[in-house]
Point group: C2
Chain length 443, copies 2
Amino acid sequence: MGTHSFQAPKGTRDFYPSDLAVRRHIEAAWRSASIDCGFDEVDGPTFEHLELYTAKSGESIVNELFSFRRAGGENDYALRPEFTPTLARMIAARGGALPVPVKWFAIPSMFRAERPQRGRLREFYQWNIDIAGVEGAPHDVDVIACGILALERLGLTPRDVQVRVSHRVAIARMLAALGVAADKTADAMTLLDRRDKLKPDEFALRAGALGLSADALARFDVAARATQPLAAALADLAAKIGISADEFAALDDVRAAAARVGILEWMTVDVGIVRGLAYYTGTVFEFHEISGAERALAGGGRYDGLVELFGGPKMPACGLGMGDVVLANALRDRKLLPDDGATLLPRPDVFVISAGGDLADAELPKLVMTLRRAGLHVRTSAKATRNVGKLLGDAGKARARLAVILGAELADGQIAVKDLDAGTQRVAALAEILATPRTLRLP
Amino acid sequence: MGTHSFQAPKGTRDFYPSDLAVRRHIEAAWRSASIDCGFDEVDGPTFEHLELYTAKSGESIVNELFSFRRAGGENDYALRPEFTPTLARMIAARGGALPVPVKWFAIPSMFRAERPQRGRLREFYQWNIDIAGVEGAPHDVDVIACGILALERLGLTPRDVQVRVSHRVAIARMLAALGVAADKTADAMTLLDRRDKLKPDEFALRAGALGLSADALARFDVAARATQPLAAALADLAAKIGISADEFAALDDVRAAAARVGILEWMTVDVGIVRGLAYYTGTVFEFHEISGAERALAGGGRYDGLVELFGGPKMPACGLGMGDVVLANALRDRKLLPDDGATLLPRPDVFVISAGGDLADAELPKLVMTLRRAGLHVRTSAKATRNVGKLLGDAGKARARLAVILGAELADGQIAVKDLDAGTQRVAALAEILATPRTLRLP
């Protein structure tokens, strides 16, 4: 057996208890926000038929697939690199039978066979929320607000993260107003999308190929980097770029909806947000740390043609994806993961200790199981020692709330109950605890 | 795009909301039982290096692997068919640094490339609990009791499921007492393991090859089908087989430990339980429906050499695995999944309705978000209708506890709050609800 078989495959993770506690902490925020916002949870297979991805997805994803064929089998499969094709396939399978709007969320594992780097792994977890079957800015904002709600529950604020929002229709109208010809619109959008990845001279070179006047080129350059709080008047932004505020009407609808919900302070207009994938058709957004130094925490938007593209009915839709890796980094950087997960582990309600003697050793397993059957988180020691001081130390290390000690008083049917947070101790009747075990549960 | 790309791959499942509610219901029982019993949750990658499985696992697993290699890559991988190799690898990676005992649980997805049939799929979810670093029947029973606790929480009783238990050492001593030669012990165990799969004449043929006297052969046949409640004296069972009760000493330790914990009524001695995999060394058990008609719900036992086999330190261990597919079938057969999952979906706390008018439509999004921010599960309608009767019907269909109606009284700052379970209605001040939204949460 090669030595590397003792390691997790490159770009994947072993989740030891405190690591998994971090993942569960993030997932709990995702799940509770989703449910509170009226989304129903769904899931699909971990792998799909390869052609679900190759036939319609962008090249960037196809190149990153883990694909395989079973020895002797006829079908090619791929580990899912994103959830949307599965979602579209599931909607398609039910045809028109699903009540509209379909509001679904999922927290699947996903796989990308690219080079692992900070914020990007080969296996990761991604929260997906989607609303299908309805159109309009209020639904786009419903998706964004649910993403914000999850971040709020993890302790993040608008001072940590901003949702940068744009709108494909507004961008197209802006480009037309700047004089970009219809056949150059796609090039111009790609350029906006890549503005942070291109060096200034390369950006200038490509912008030059758009066929704009020197004045329009200067205004395109302003637009590419123009951001302002969504709370501010869009007319200001339009004036800066030198276009009519009317071109931003679609974005103004998003603004009005966000204002009604009360999430304006989380949001920034960023005309340069386009989203790489070809399938977005309306509102587009990315969640970014305020510093802008890391990868996006989340991204999404409206993709009205997508469900149909994957074989489903004609159905407008809007969605968001948020991965666990960048988010965990952001929380860690802001000290929002105390002890790196250790204190996120569930605290035992009771740590049961035998102080020795046949009676105590005989009674302990029954007491432990009775408390567990009552829904208490109960730990005990596997050590041979009956030194109560040492065992209380173990109870403290386990972060137990109470210690129950089976000692000499057991001959009279009595046990000691020690509140490890308060440092107080009382005596209780074992029979009473066995009869009403939930009285040992601290609030 | 081929038509089958619109379907989930054979042997995998799409989880629509009520399907996933069933899975989450089962997982919640597994997780809460694990935590209450003092296990910490872990997880590993969905795929591992292929050789982690091929080098040491039994052939039966190797033949069922989904394996793959990244185009242009150097490594062979396989989707995990079981969790134990990952567990052993993770323990090995931390060497002696982990506090003993290691009590871990996991609920990973697993993959077997075999032909799908009732109770057996190509992708399924399996609960694993393991205790490593300690020996003795009390720890074996700790594992079994945790499995029972999860079943109890799902509504199952000892009249539904029995844990059939045996012990490798007891079986070996029984076989020796029956006159099975040391070099035939493995054959005899394999025969016991396959007793339900072989036809009677084939069983007799193979038993004949064990080199036993006619009398011993008859007693071997009795042993192969000998079961009795674990609560009964093992001496009775030994007498039936015609051996000394001493040969069952190891099983008697399990009996004593189970009696102390209080789970005897759940347990049956079944000498014919061996467990196919070669790696078990002591206590072995399977959870079966009382009818015995279905596959085992769970299986496990002590495998003291396994962690070392996968590159870890010398470490005794005992574990259990329980899959979701057979368990869900058992629950469904017993009507323990009401409405096949639909009523397991989370109930909305509040359904907010606008009765129409600019003020109501304007106030609704803010109220909804405020309630959600307070942790309430809030739904609303995407329909254009402002017919309160129809919308109350939708609230009922959504199984909401309360409906909040923004109607004409809103001009005076008032809203109607309707308790949909009790059928009562009251008027409240919107400002008060916005200030203390949690008052709308029913217990």
